[in-house]
C-alpha cells in the first residue's frame, strides 16, 4: 500500500479539450473518466507516477454553485490558479517535442539555479513550469 496524496485537481474550461491536451500532447494516460449526468470525474496520470492522479475538473454544480463556477472559469482563463510544476529529464528536448505538438510555451528553456526550466500553459490557462530534474 502506498500512502500519500492520491488526487489533486485543476480546473479546466472544457474537459474534452483538456483530455486531448494532457493525453495527446503531454503524454499522460486517462485513469478515470466517469460521468454522472452532467458531472464528469476525469483524472489522468503521468506514466512514471502510478500512485498520483491529476484531476481535470470543470467548475460546475453540484461541486460548486454556478456563480462561483463562473468566477473559477474566469480565474483559470486569467492564469490566476496555483502554480504547477512538471519535472522532466531533459528540459530542452521536452520543449522541442512539446512545441512541435503545439503546446503554448510562455518561456523558452533558460538555464539558472543549476537547472533548466521553461513554462507553458494548458488550453484553459493553467500555467506549468517545466523543470529539468537535478
Amino acid at each position: 500500500m502506498t500512502q500519500g496524496v492520491g488526487v489533486a485537481g485543476i480546473y479546466v474550461h472544457d474537459q474534452d479539450e483538456a483530455l486531448a491536451f494532457y493525453v495527446d500532447k503531454l503524454g499522460f494516460a486517462v485513469h478515470t473518466d466517469a460521468r454522472n449526468g452532467d458531472y464528469r470525474w476525469l483524472t489522468v496520470q503521468h506514466p512514471d507516477q502510478p500512485s498520483f492522479q491529476l484531476g481535470l475538473f470543470k467548475p460546475q454544480p453540484p461541486t460548486v454553485d454556478e456563480a462561483s463556477a463562473q468566477i473559477m472559469r474566469q480565474m483559470t482563463a486569467k492564469g490566476a490558479m496555483p502554480p504547477l510544476v512538471l519535472v522532466v529529464a531533459d528540459c530542452r528536448a521536452a520543449y522541442d517535442r512539446l512545441r512541435q505538438r503545439g503546446v503554448e510555451f510562455t518561456q523558452e528553456p533558460v538555464e539558472r539555479y543549476g537547472s533548466v526550466d521553461a513554462s507553458f500553459r494548458d488550453p484553459s490557462g493553467n500555467g506549468w513550469k517545466m523543470i529539468e530534474a537535478r
Binding site: 474550461h13 474566469q74 492564469g79 488550453p123
Partner: protein
Amino acid sequence: MTAGRVKLGRDPALLRRLLRAKDRMDAASHEEWPIPRLAKVSGVSEAHFARSFKDAFGVPPHRYLLTRRIERASALLRDTELQITEVAFRTGWNSLGTFGRIFRDVTGESPSDLRARERAHEHQLEEVPHCFVSAAHRPDLKIAVSEKRRQAIMGNGPGPNETEDP
C-alpha cells in the same frame, strides 16, 4: 446566472486571449508593446484592447509592462554585476534618467541603493522556481507612476477626479 448575463469582459474565452498578451509581455518585457501589437496577440480590436485588459487584470497594459521591467531590472541588479546603464538598456529603457526616475518612483529607492541592500543579506531562494520568485518580488503598482511622483511633490493623496493613466 445565465450565460446571456455574462459581461463581455468576463468571458473566459476573451480572458484566455488577453492572458496571451500578458504572457507575451512577461516573456519579452524589454520589447516595445504598442496597443496594435498586443491587440493582435489577443485577437481583440485595438479600440477595445486596453479597456478589456484593465478590466481583466486591474491595470492598463503599459503599466503592467512597466512593473515587469522594474521587476526584471531589480533581478538583474540583485543577481548580476551588470552596470546600471546596461541593466536599463536590457530592460527596455532608452534613457538612463527615465529608468532611474521610474525605478525610484516604483520601488522607493534608487537602482544602486537596491543593489546595495540586496547584497547586504544572503538569499535562500534557490529552491523556489524562478517564476514564483519574480512574482513574489513584483512591484505593486496601484497608482500611476506620474501620480505617485505628483503626490510626493504635493505631499497629499489623489483627489476624487484623478484618473489612472500609465
